[in-house]
Amino acid sequence: MNDDDLLRDSLTEIGDQVKSVDFVDRSLARSKRIGRSRALASGAAAACALVLAGGLAWQVALTEPDQPSPATVPTALPSVTSSPSPNATPVGSSIAGLPGWLYYADSERLVRVTKSGVDTVLEKDAYAASVSPDGARVAFVDKSGKVVVTDRDGKNHRTVFQGAKYYGYEPAWSPDSERLLLAKGPDGEATKGILTVATGRFTALVDQRSAIHLLWSADGQHIGYATGECRLATADADGGNARVVPGFGSADVQANYGRRRSCDPYSMSADGGLISVWLRKGEEEDSDIARDLIADTVIDVRTGENVGLPVRGDVQAILFQPNGDILVRTVGKLTLLGPDFAVKAEVPEPAAVNDLKLLAYTPD
């Protein structure tokens, strides 16, 4: 036996001393406690507004291996009984001083803020719900995998697809409010693709690499997502030409100061160049696949660097708008920034939504 074997054998013998333990119940109980702690802490996600360097150049290569590109997969049309007839969005606004409509949600309820309070849009199934960019429709995936589209008031439910994934693949609307980026498949499998609402046709993305929490830029040219390892990536709208954001989420500490990463992309800028995320750093635990609707940091997808916002306070959400504006939620306040980050409006947030997450902001 050489000395190398001696150390290995000694370590094996030491490891053999440990007594077996059943971890099923213990780990599940601990998991629940973590979940409760996170729910309490998420309302206080904090970020300081620091102006950091912007981007210099696009990354030049992928860091993940390519995977086979599946063919386009048409699916059987769902049992559509009526064509969509979205209600016209009424002119108005949720809050004086801030044009447009604000939508908030928790894991079940989706509400729209009105000047007199909130209107409930969905009583349940808001966990995987999204409001269309034109504000006319709401889409959600229920726990059974049905994709349901309603009007802006949550009425006129219409099932447009079945077999969609629930966790990690909340539907993202196309800029024209006609298609949804989501995933389908049995447990353990996920085929990401684009669902045309009017026909129920599902077209798989050309690149099926690991991706969760899909986003779609308002110019229609880019999608964004988190990889299974809490990195960020962007791609063309068909899923091709995927690029992993450099540095960010990398295990190489020299390329990724502070071990910055996120499994929670929240919103993508109109040109696809910025993604807002719930940032995790250093020894902080990664979040799970559940949708958190929290963002405290903007990441430049070209450089992987943080981008500062001229907002003070604990940032809770950063929502990019099709016209380039950025809505920033801090405790008790909403700030609307222009594309140049100049402050366009600051308004107090209604107390009625204190315990809810900001889901969408649509035009008036």
Binding site: L7, S10, D16, Q17, K19, F23, E285
Partner: protein, 175 residues
């Protein structure tokens, strides 16, 4: 809350003892090892749907475990425990010849003298048989850090375990 709960349970039943063995080497204490594995599995459960789909749940659990072990609070707790007495020498797996027990206890004592990160690289490299690059990835440090920590750990082990004085390091080989 988490999809594939049955699969998670099957994963825990299949792999938790292997995790516990590594955790015991990292902590040198049954209860601390259990704490470490419980936390790693709980966080793996929180991320189960994502991890299950990309097929690396065990790697994630191990990553959590190693990061937890070298984190500040755990280092403090571990240091308090490791300063105490060694566990009773009874051998639970049949390595019961006096020479084997003596050597194991000597190595065990020597391991306890290492820093948490040095202990981690030794376990990763010589118990789990990871490459330097894999160990660096799991610990979230550079390969050069793994090389350095390994060299210092082996130097310390050589001082304390006579049988290892001629230990041939494999620095620079990647294994």
């Amino acid at each position: 809350m988490v999809a594939g709960e049955d699969e998670y349970v099957a994963f825990v039943r299949a792999r938790s003892h292997a995790l516990l063995r590594s955790a015991y080497l990292l902590t040198g204490d049954q209860h601390l090892a259990e704490d470490l594995v419980q936390e790693a599995l709980a966080r793996t459960h929180r991320a189960w749907s994502r991890l299950h789909e990309i097929g690396n749940a065990e790697a994630y659990a191990r990553r959590v475990m190693y990061h937890q072990q070298v984190s500040v609070w755990r280092r403090r707790r571990t240091a308090e425990v490791l300063s105490g007495d060694l566990p009773e020498p009874a051998d639970r797996r049949g390595h019961d010849d006096p020479e084997s027990i003596t050597r194991r206890m000597t190595v065990e004592r020597a391991l306890r003298s290492l820093s948490p990160r040095q202990r981690a690289v030794v376990v990763l490299r010589y118990f789990e048989d990871h490459t330097e690059a894999e160990a660096a990835d799991l610990l979230g440090v550079s390969v050069s850090t793994v090389k350095t920590q390994t060299a210092r750990a082996l130097e310390q082990l050589r001082k304390l375990v006579p049988e290892l004085r001629q230990f041939r390091t494999t620095e620079g080989t990647g294994r």
